[in-house]
Symmetry: C2
Subunit: 249 residues, 2 copies
């Protein structure tokens, strides 16, 4: 693990890093040490580790909850090279959208291929952050859509993750892994999702083996998750990961 | 409106009252005046205005949120006389339970009959509380199961109610009224509800015309709503009714 830069603003320290050529960011409370909880943020399809929504979420988790927060670019996203398969996927999606055809099944299949690469990358990132002394406390995972495509098999494989906020994904490619997830899950569904059929998203919620799982469904399309769900996720993580570091101000 | 007794404990004032022979309770912050939000609590079937869960909820809303809270007995419940129809319903339910038959449709039909009486009773209670100076602020409604059987037509008819927590009820008898509800709704569903079929409960959520509505579904049976939903309802009401009165301590 190599740390490439550090900045501090508004009480949040931001460290850029790479692990095996995978670029990432670690946000944490400035001037705080100790085994605070760590939340992993997995961005959505077409986004990257510093997408505005992810940065805003990371800052909230640091300043309101006292957590550390890490994000990495998914394969073919952000600062990472794009493969021939990535380019073909993008061209295929554009063609289907132009033709007014549904893209949900194509997105789910592509996300499953990305997840097969991304799961060991997240595990290597967690190993490296732990060795560097940045992840001694409990670990949570947040990711929707592509982030859930990665997060479900990751949570099934990785016992260090003890709570997850997931959602906006279909059962077909993920139900089998979900049946091996037993940690508490807060699961988001958009009632009018144009990418993920409602019944298939409900079926994915149903598939989790977790004794504590809670479904939050809201009206609106795939990208329209209401702002109050950010605050809900803070309480969910605080409930399951514990209180973070109170920052000196 | 007649006030029959007042006690104060732990910063909560408790006033017993009657409105047209309907007995009720008003909980409010002790030593506080002003137009704080008021939340109406409608108990479930077979319960009453001072059921332990209702009293605990009322105290939380008063002490944590600074709200006033009112509850009345539903027709045939608590301190109110039971009709021949009530007795027949209870006997019928017992017989069906003994025979291992489902009771959901019978409960829904009986609840609809109770709601036809209870809606004008709640409106008279709200009138009386306003005249007595206890309901000058925004008004919320909380009620599950029978409380939703009453709350949906009440929220459809009563413009003073500006936010509602509802759930654990089926669409068949309530969807038409739900389509006339436009205020924010937090709606609870129990994933393994033995009384309310999942699809019918989802259909009731779908039926609300409210631009802001949020479904919270959790594993478990009809009476197993998890404790964290109490805290969620506090934040929902605070978001929509505003901050209550900060208590002197």
């Amino acid at each position: 693990m190599e740390f490439t830069s550090e900045t501090t603003a508004n009480g949040v320290s931001e460290l850029s890093f790479t692990v095996d050529d995978i670029p990432g960011v670690l946000w944490s409370p400035a001037d705080a040490t100790g085994n605070h909880p760590l939340v992993l943020l997995a961005h959505g399809g077409g986004q990257h580790k510093r997408a505005p929504g992810l940065v805003a979420r990371a800052h909230r988790y640091v300043t309101a909850c006292g957590f550390a927060v890490a994000a990495i670019d998914a394969p073919g996203h952000g600062d990472r090279p794009r493969t021939e398969q990535d380019e073909q996927f993008t061209a295929g999606i554009r063609a289907r959208l132009s033709a007014g055809e549904p893209i949900g099944p194509q997105v789910a299949t592509h996300n499953a291929a990305l997840a097969a690469k991304a799961v060991p990358e997240w595990q290597a990132t967690l190993d490296a952050l732990q060795k560097a002394g940045h992840a001694g406390g409990p670990v949570g995972f947040w990711g929707l859509s592509l982030g859930t495509g990665i997060g479900v098999p990751l949570a099934a494989a990785e016992p260090r993750i003890t709570a997850a906020v997931l959602g906006l994904a279909a059962a077909e490619t993920l139900a089998e892994a979900a049946a091996r997830v037993t940690v508490p899950v807060e699961f988001l569904l958009q009632w009018d999702d144009e990418l993920v059929p409602r019944d298939s998203c409900l079926a994915l919620f149903d598939a989790f083996a977790s004794p504590e799982k809670t479904l939050h469904a809201n009206p609106g399309r795939h990208l329209g998750v209401p702002a109050f769900e950010l605050a809900s996720s803070e309480r969910f993580f605080t409930r399951h990961l514990g209180e973070g570091v109170t920052q000196p101000r």
